[in-house]
């Protein structure tokens, strides 16, 4: 006997002790699929036969079974299950997880079980136990169907048991192998003429009288249900749909109207309302045979389909993640009606539960059912019922292009109970937030806290640890700007390997060697400006800020720090600053060149003292003040002692040397400080044009970024923007390398911070994956404010040379990957939580303990 079970089901074995359930299970199922009550007893009590542990054992068994079913895995319950009350929770569990309960009954002669148990020393219970179980089993047989088992298989003899095999079949809704491309059409409601127009617009050949269609090559049509009612030509639609489905040119899922019509045609007592009368009148002139075919067609429709390897789900009223690809009465109800809250609105219509707002699934869900004026994306779902029959339009979604194609209704054939089109009198296309943007007004804590894995295109899954997420939550909540502005946080950057050159910690030779060894022939050296890292977003106007970022009343852009904090506390100053950058973009022709209404720059904003004022005062200047005063006093005391003839020469000379180093240190930080009175005192040095509409410019080499941004800087008035001096170096040519080194020496001998060396390509990969996107070589004097005033003393430098870069480099790669990920997700117009996930990840990683001086 061949037992066929659905691939996702809860298989309940039923049989007395000793009937061979475990043996049967082992023969037909994977060990991980089998949940044995004996095994669970052992797990909780160390004894398979400990009847006192039965309660806990079944708790455990049900718990594991639920986890498996939720994860979409089949589970087999190996327990006697001869009593109705032990089967009841299993049926309930299967229903809860929207999968089918299957009973396989081993209904063997009692004697057989007695004999087997006799040979098993651990089964010391008397024969009366099995006798009682057998009675219960016999009573159960006729009730299984009523208890809710959809598939019941009874094996009555040992021979039948031996001969049995178990086969699994996919659910009807599983069409994952159908890869499309698809054209998905929303609620038609008898609007045959509009459908024909729409299909032609989609490139289908339609024969309206023969009710046939031919798709453009390789494409397939998907009807989202509600073919019938209200409109003028329901029978034509049905003919076309039936032919197309029969020929394999189309798929169709049922709508609630279709199902109600089918029930009426099958003679059931249903209320004739909501346009059903129109369908019945139109069908009355058709043959009885046609009406039967229609009923059969609708009856055979599958509630929803999972297509394209699970990437696409289609259903009339939508499908939440926990139900996708499953089969149960509840799944079918959801597919037809969605979920309602139980309340009704002022039009007497049920208030729908907005499942799409909470949708987090990876599959795109395309649905209809409720008319909307415009199809709108929300969390990878889209409703394309644009109310054609009510005078709206008929809409199709082209998949995977995600392109919307609509034709307007030729007439309003019916009056909606609730108006769904915006009133003509309302403000002419006044801009407003999209559904997704409104939804994105608030982010969910559950999307950022705890241990998380963020998948990135560049670097696989990046792990965010819980304590780092907690630290990021605090910073993000208390200090960060509106998350809608935060589409990128810059990654940390590692220095070059430690140099062996006397008196130096860092030198370009190591940076060049790093890239040469990684297989990168050409690098770009960019002067490192000592300011604060800043991300600047500028929109063409407030309307663009609203449309692209969903931001209202927060100006045309933002300038934020690497922790997402607004750079300027004074909104007027920020506006003046952004206006300057905006004017530069206009003068440089950016808007047309990039076909964009916004852009995002990665920059250094100077002076350092503008943002780091407190830090400078509290730390850098304080150390300078204390050190100068203390060393001056020490020097005079020592000089006095020397004048009195004490031998303190060595100490005095060392102290004098320390005093000089402190003076150099003070000079070093002073270089990066100048007072800021107005917007004119700021300098912005952009070095990456990160993104514009539809594009993250990470596919362009760095010399393109330099050249493009130099044009922006040159177009800027008042010198607020500065182009970054740079050199392209061939690291396979010693002469070219020497040029690079000479340039670095020039820069740093003037007290400059140093330079950043990057592979010429923005994203460089080597044998072992991603290569450092940038490596910094900092100057000797600058490093005093990193390693302390006296770091250049030979005994200090010698010890500082031992520093490990590995943690920093690993962090830099992970942050880089997350930063690019957030940009790419943003330009793909993914929901904010997806962008925010990656941005939040960078902030969380920043709290990982890494030597802060690197």
């Amino acid at each position: 006997m061949k037992i066929i079970i659905p691939e996702l089901s809860l298989v309940v074995l039923v049989g007395v002790s000793g009937s061979g359930k475990s043996t049967f299970a082992r023969r037909h199922f994977k060990p991980t699929e089998i949940l044995s009550s004996d095994h669970c007893r052992a797990l909780v009590s160390d004894d398979e036969n400990n009847q006192a542990a039965t309660g806990d054992a079944f708790d455990l068994l049900h718990y594991i079974a639920r986890k498996r079913l939720v994860a979409g895995k089949l589970a087999v319950v190996d327990a006697t299950n001869v009593q109705a009350e032990s089967r009841k929770p299993l049926v309930a569990l299967a229903r809860e997880c929207h999968c089918l309960p299957v009973a396989i009954v081993l209904n063997l002669p009692e004697r057989l079980a007695h004999d087997r148990n006799k040979n098993r020393p651990d089964r010391a219970f008397g024969p009366h136990v099995v006798r009682q179980q057998a009675q219960q089993l016999r009573r159960s047989l006729r009730n299984l169907q009523r208890e809710g088992f959809r598939h019941i298989h009874i094996l009555n003899t040992p021979e039948e048991v031996d001969a049995a095999s178990v086969g699994r079949e996919p659910l009807w809704n599983n069409l994952r192998h159908e890869r499309g491309p698809f054209d998905i059409v929303g609620d038609i409601h008898g609007c045959y003429d509009e459908l024909a127009l729409l299909l032609r617009a989609l490139g289908y050949a339609v024969d309206e009288t023969a009710h046939t269609l031919v798709p453009p090559s390789g494409r397939k049509l998907v009807f989202l249900g509600d073919l019938v009612d209200r409109g003028p030509k329901t029978p034509d639609i049905l003919r076309l749909a039936m032919n197309a489905v029969a020929s394999g040119a189309a798929l169709c899922v049922p709508g609630n109207h279709d199902v109600k019509l089918m029930r009426k045609l099958r003679g059931r007592d249903v209320q004739i309302n909501h346009g059903l009368a129109d369908s019945l009148a139109q069908l009355s002139s058709e043959s009885e045979e046609f009406r039967i075919r229609v009923a059969d067609f609708i009856d055979d429709l599958v509630s929803h389909y999972v297509l394209d390897e699970g990437r696409l789900v289609v259903a009339h009223a939508g499908m939440k993640q926990s139900m996708q690809g499953r089969g149960s009465g509840a799944v079918r109800e959801f597919a037809l009606f969605g979920e309602t809250t139980g309340e009704t609105d002022e039009f007497g219509l049920p208030i729908r539960y907005n499942w799409a707002a909470e949708y987090r699934g990876p599959a795109m869900v395309v649905y209809g059912h409720t008319p909307v004026p415009e199809p709108e994306w929300l969390n990878r779902t889209i409703n394309i019922d644009t109310g054609c029959v009510f005078g709206g339009k008929l809409t199709a979604l082209r998949y995977p292009e995600n392109e919307i194609v609509s034709v307007p209704a030729l007439h309003a054939y019916a009056e909606p109970r609730k108006p769904f089109l915006p009133e003509a009198a309302s403000a002419p296309s006044s801009p407003s937030l999209s559904a997704q943007q409104q939804h994105d007004d608030i982010l969910d804590l559950a999307d950022v806290t705890g241990k998380r894995l963020v998948s990135t295109r560049l670097h696989g899954n990046v792990t965010i640890r819980q304590e780092n997420a907690a630290a990021a939550l605090e910073v993000m909540s208390r200090f960060a700007a509106n998350p809608k502005w935060l589409i990128h946080l810059p990654p940390t950057m590692s220095p070059s390997e430690t140099s062996g050159v006397p008196g130096l910690l860092e030198h370009p030779a190591e940076a060049f060697a790093y890239y040469r060894h990684a297989g990168v022939p050409r690098v770009i050296c960019e002067e490192k400006h000592m300011g604060s890292r800043a991300i600047v977003i500028v929109c063409r106007d407030k309307n663009a800020a609203l449309k692209t970022f969903g931001i209202t009343d927060e100006g045309i852009g933002i300038c934020h720090t690497r922790t997402g904090r607004r750079f300027f506390d004074d909104p007027k100053l920020e506006t003046a600053f952004l206006d300057r950058v905006h004017a530069a973009a206009t003068a440089a022709g950016y808007w047309d060149e990039f076909q964009t209404t916004w852009f995002c720059l990665d920059c250094e904003l100077m002076p350092w003292s503008a943002k780091a004022q407190e830090l400078l005062k509290q730390q850098y200047a304080s150390v300078g003040a204390a050190a100068s005063a203390s060393l001056a006093a020490e020097t005079s005391a020592l000089e006095l002692a020397a004048a009195h003839g004490l031998d303190v020469a060595e100490l005095l000379s060392r102290t004098t040397g320390r005093r000089q180093m402190v003076a150099d240190y003070v000079a070093a930080y002073r270089r990066y400080c100048w007072p800021v009175h107005s917007v004119d005192d700021y300098k912005l040095a952009p070095f990456h044009l990160l993104a514009t509409e539809g594009k993250a410019h990470t596919d362009k080499p760095h010399d393109w970024h330099m050249e493009t941004l130099a044009r922006l800087a040159n177009a800027a008035a008042g010198g607020i923007l500065i182009a970054t001096p740079h050199r392209v170096i061939d690291v396979t040519d010693p002469a070219s390398e020497a040029d690079g080194i000479r340039w670095w020496e020039e820069l740093t001998s003037r007290g400059g911070e140093g330079m950043v060396v990057k592979p010429l390509e923005f994203i460089a990969k080597g044998r072992r994956g991603l290569i450092q996107p940038a490596v910094k070589c900092r100057g000797r004097e600058y490093l005093r404010i990193i390693y302390g005033p006296e770091y250049t003393a030979p005994e200090n430098l010698a010890r500082l040379r031992s520093r490990g870069l590995q943690a920093k480099r690993s962090l830099a790669l992970r942050e880089f990957a997350l930063g690019i990920e957030s940009l790419e997700r943003f330009v793909r117009k993914e929901p904010l939580r997806r962008v925010h996930e990656a941005v939040f990840g960078v902030l969380a990683l920043e709290s990982e303990p890494v030597d802060p001086r690197l």
Partner: protein, 467 residues
């Protein structure tokens, strides 16, 4: 760092016997964190100056992990005033180098040990975050004449104002032993930052060195607290790391800022009245399951826990550090089981939707809203009124009109540095009424604290009731 001790006792060179260091011979001593040098810039029978010069090894300071307890993660480790300013290192050096003088033994001049002699001390650089006044409060009760000179922060940038570092001169006539004990305890107290301690028995040392004077010192509480400075938590370190480079760690001075606000409002014990008013409103609502959103260090939670009416109490805050303190304050790990079941504290944020907060009867949101940037307020409103949606919301915020009444608050300043705004009564009521109407609540308003006929009460409170 440098300290000089001068005496005009006759013969002044007896100082050498008391310190047990020969005035004619400079000496050096190895310490775990560097070197100490003792020499005498001047040694005549009229005047004797002993100098203790401590060279702290700045690299070992960072590299030697077991040393600086309590040091925060950030840059400040290398760029650090520890090698220069008087700190706990100086105390350790005094104990190591002048140990016998500190414990009061002298082979050659035993009679001088307890004899008051004229002494003058100069500390070249002393950090005092409590300002000049604090220096006076610490040393004057002990009988010192004190001269304080504030060091300029950086003469190139006069607009940066002065540093918190001082040159300090102390003069008094007292036994050397006592003077050294005073310095041993008070120098780290002044510093109040990143103590360097080698031993575990710091309480014992404090008792020993403070014997005979600490108990009577009017500032003994703050001296004890700062001397035994607590350690920082992992999350604090993580926070410091995030902001490294651009900004000071967000909570580096949080406690100080809270104290500032407290000090402004203290004259009328506003905080108590505020918590009392909130508690009354919560009780009057009939709520049994309640939230304290932005519970901070848990003062309101303590009050809620005492009321049997509240069967389930959730405290939430965005600051991990504040929650740790709340946990200690409430003795969460020692509460009896029945009490413990009633209360939970959660780390969370009021600008992220949090399903853990849904379905409660009442929420207190005390002095929270003014800490949110106005652009984030929309999210806050939706999370509070739409997502958490308790039947009653009790919300307080400062009344900015009242600020003119605070004597210590400069005009135009907020009460707390982290306040992003402060509302007048009209502004607050307009916001509350609009928000209530939109979300299906009604709002009523109550003053908290003494009400002034013109400017109203210092704190304003709204009680929102779901309709």
């Amino acid at each position: 760092m440098l300290i000089t001790l001068t005496t005009t006792h006759h013969p002044a060179t007896d100082l050498g016997y008391l310190l047990r260091k020969n005035p004619t011979r400079p000496q050096s001593f190895e310490l775990t964190f560097g070197k100490a040098h003792v020499f005498y810039p001047e040694a005549t029978s009229e005047r004797c100056i002993a100098a203790l010069l401590v060279e702290v090894d700045p690299v070992a300071l960072v590299r030697n992990r077991r040393n600086p307890s309590g040091a925060g993660g950030a840059l400040e480790q290398y760029v650090n005033d520890r090698p220069y300013a008087a700190s706990s290192f100086l105390s350790v050096a005094i104990a190591e180098v002048f140990g016998s003088a500190l414990s009061g033994s002298s082979k050659e001049r035993p009679e001088l040990v307890e004899t008051p002699i004229p002494l003058q001390v100069v500390l070249a650089a002393v950090p005092s975050r409590g300002g000049e006044a604090f220096l006076h409060r610490l040393f004057e009760p002990l009988g010192y004449a004190i001269t304080v000179t504030r060091l300029p922060l950086d003469e190139t940038f006069p607009e940066w104002d002065e540093s918190f570092c001082y040159r300090v001169e102390l003069a008094a006539t007292l036994p050397l032993r006592q003077l050294l004990s005073h310095l041993y305890v008070l120098v780290p107290v002044l510093d109040n930052d990143k103590h360097y301690w080698v031993g575990d028995d710091e309480v014992g040392k404090l008792m020993r060195r403070g014997e005979g004077w600490l108990a009577a010192h009017p500032e003994r509480e703050i001296i004890t607290r700062r001397y035994l400075k607590h350690q920082r938590s992992l999350v604090d370190d993580a926070l410091a790391q995030i902001t490294n480079g651009d900004e000071p760690p967000p909570d580096a001075n949080a406690a100080d800022h809270a104290l500032e606000e407290d000090a402004i409002e203290r004259p009328i014990s506003l905080n108590e009245q505020r918590l009392g008013s909130v508690l009354s409103a919560m009780k009057a609502s009939g709520a049994s399951r309640v939230l304290d959103l932005g519970c901070g260090e848990g003062r309101l939670l303590q009050l809620l826990l005492k009321e049997k009416q509240f069967t389930e109490i959730i405290g939430m805050d965005v600051s991990h550090r504040a929650l740790e303190i709340a946990g200690e304050r409430l003795r969460l790990d020692r509460l009896p089981a029945m009490q413990k079941e009633r209360i939970r504290i959660l780390h969370g944020s009021l600008i992220y939707r949090d399903e853990r907060l849904a379905g409660y009867d009442a929420a207190a949101v005390v002095e929270v809203i003014e800490h949110l940037d106005p652009p984030r307020r929309a999210a806050f409103e939706r999370i509070l009124f739409e997502c958490a949606r308790p039947a009653t919301i009790v919300l307080t915020t400062p009344n900015s009109e009242y600020n003119v009444k605070w004597e210590t608050l400069p005009a135009g300043k907020f009460r707390h540095r982290d306040h992003r705004f402060e509302w007048t009564r009209a502004e607050f009521q307009s916001w509350a009424n609009t928000t209530a109407a939109r979300a299906g609540y009604t709002a009523r308003f109550l003053p908290v604290g003494p009400e002034d006929a013109v400017v109203g009460a210092p704190t304003q409170m709204a009680v929102f009731t779901r309709t």
